[in-house]
């Protein structure tokens, strides 16, 4: 793996099956993962300790993943890569995610292996 071993990854997901699974998969690959289950908690965690990459679910209670992404892109740490994970698969949803500044967009149901490859790839390309 050449995607910055030990990199800090923030995972925001209100479905605990998915957040545990993603955290386990990324943890096994050597990343340091923090999970939260709301958009507000994600934004607080991002401000408190900016990660090297954030994986955000789009539909969360309170602040959505899109809202959090927008805040990140307006913040001082606006270049942190963000991968959106969503069941919303229409072109318009994907377009919106990228228009707001998502680095990548993964549609649920997803392949955990593919998610890991994407995370590794993004981190390898990030300066």
């Amino acid at each position: 793996m050449n995607g910055r071993p030990g990199a800090r990854i923030l995972v925001a997901e209100d479905d605990h099956d998915i957040s545990d699974l993603v955290a386990f998969k990324l943890g096994q690959a050597g990343y340091e993962v923090r999970t939260v289950d709301t958009g507000s908690a994600a934004w607080e965690a991002f401000q408190a300790a900016p990660p090297h990459l954030a994986v955000l679910d789009v539909m969360m209670p309170g602040l959505s993943g899109i809202d959090v992404l927008r805040k990140i892109r307006e913040s001082a740490r606006s270049t942190v890569p963000v991968l959106l994970l969503s069941a919303r698969s229409r072109d318009a949803d994907v377009d919106l995610g990228f228009a707001i500044g998502a680095t990548d967009y993964v549609i649920k149901p997803f392949s955990p292996r593919e998610l890991l490859h994407r995370v590794t790839g993004i981190l390898a390309r990030t300066p």
Binding site: D15, D17, L21, F24, Q28, P109, F110, S111, P112, R113
Partner: protein, 363 residues
């Protein structure tokens, strides 16, 4: 006029009865809620010893099959809880881990049981069976699920259509389209459309057949899916239905689809249906479709709509023109003396320009 007085004993009895009824209702609600919580806690406790194994298998990290063996070893009620958790996970993941979990369900006889459950008297059981077969993406279940599209319970029909979409076998396309209009109420249009779009390009023939279905609900879904899925071979039939279908919803769906997948040849027909003698919903849809189509040849028809008595139609026409040629809209606004900084004037051109600025479409 005097109101007859209610005797005090009757009043007290009525109040007492009402009070008892209210208290019973509250107790009932609390009991049901508590019962559900206890049940959920019990299931969570039963699942707890297996949850980490489920996560390990789902993540594709069960390299020595140890977690899979522990999951396979679950028995009794715990096995049923684990199976339900697996079905839940199958809606969230795909790839090799999902296939491994499906194999576990197949080995435990859950798929065979679901096939048999499709003909059980309890509709909840039939619906759950259809759901499981879809989540397990079992191609051999397609004929059974097609039969379930004619189930007497709407819930079962909807789950069967969704399951056919999950399996993605085009053999289910024509039956799903028929099921939209075969019963009352039929399979919900949204579920049918999503299922059809999951079946891939091989449904093209089924869609063309669906556009000739006697029921307008089936024709409408076939039109929407033709557009959303870019099935260009549906175009001739869409054009014919736009021209003379007796159902207005079908015609608007055809106009919308032609906006997505039509070409220069469709500008004239879409423009014709924006004219005053066409029904208003169709005029509005055709105006938007002309913008979606992206052919500058649509500009003249749209320009004539800017002063239409229906303000919404005029706005849609202006928005469509902006998609075709922002410069034309600016020039037109300037020529008409429309000041694009003042949306309060309410001219559709101004509204369109302001909206386009908000969306970042123009500078």
């Amino acid at each position: 006029m005097t109101t007859p007085a209610i005797p005090l004993p009757v009043l007290i009895t009525a109040l007492a009865v009402t009070g008892v009824l209210c208290a019973t209702m509250v107790l009932l609600v609390v009991a049901v809620k508590t019962g559900r919580e206890v049940q959920a806690r019990r299931r969570a406790n039963l699942l707890a010893p297996y949850r980490q194994d489920l996560i390990v298998v789902s993540a594709g990290e069960d390299h020595d099959d140890a977690s899979m063996r522990r999951l396979a070893g679950a028995t009794g009620i715990a096995a049923a809880v684990v199976d339900d958790a697996i079905v839940g996970l199958l809606g969230k993941i795909r790839g090799a881990p999902a296939e491994a979990l499906v194999r576990l369900l197949v080995d435990r006889g859950k798929v065979a049981e679901a096939l048999s459950d499709l003909s059980r008297p309890a509709r909840g059981r039939r619906a759950r069976a259809a759901h499981l077969l879809g989540m397990c993406r079992q191609s051999r279940a397609v004929p059974h699920l097609v039969a379930a599209l004619g189930d007497k319970a709407g819930e079962v029909r909807a789950h069967a259509a969704h399951a056919l979409g999950m399996i993605g076998d085009a053999a289910g396309a024509r039956p799903v389209l028929r099921a939209v209009g075969a019963t009352d109420p039929g399979v919900p249009a949204g579920i049918a459309a999503a299922a059809l779009l999951s079946m891939g390009v091989e449904i093209a023939d089924a869609l063309r057949a669906g556009l000739a279905d006697p029921d307008p609900r089936s024709r409408t879904v076939a039109a929407r899916v033709s557009g959303a899925g870019s099935f260009v071979r549906s175009r001739p039939r869409l054009r014919a239905l736009l021209a003379d279908d007796h159902d207005l919803t079908t015609r608007t769906a055809c106009a919308e689809a032609l906006g997505m997948i039509g070409g220069r040849d469709d500008v004239a027909a879409l423009g014709r249906h924006t004219q005053a003698d066409a029904p208003l919903p169709l005029r509005r849809t055709c105006a938007t479709a002309l913008g979606e189509l992206g052919e500058p040849a649509g500009l003249p028809a749209l320009t004539t709509l800017l002063d239409d008595p229906d303000p919404r139609l005029a706005e849609l026409a202006a928005a469509a023109m902006l998609r075709l040629s922002p410069q034309t809209v600016h020039d037109l606004a300037a020529a008409r003396g429309v000041r694009d900084q003042d949306p309060r004037r309410g001219h559709p051109l101004e509204a369109a320009i302001v909206m386009a600025r908000l969306h970042g479409a123009i500078g």
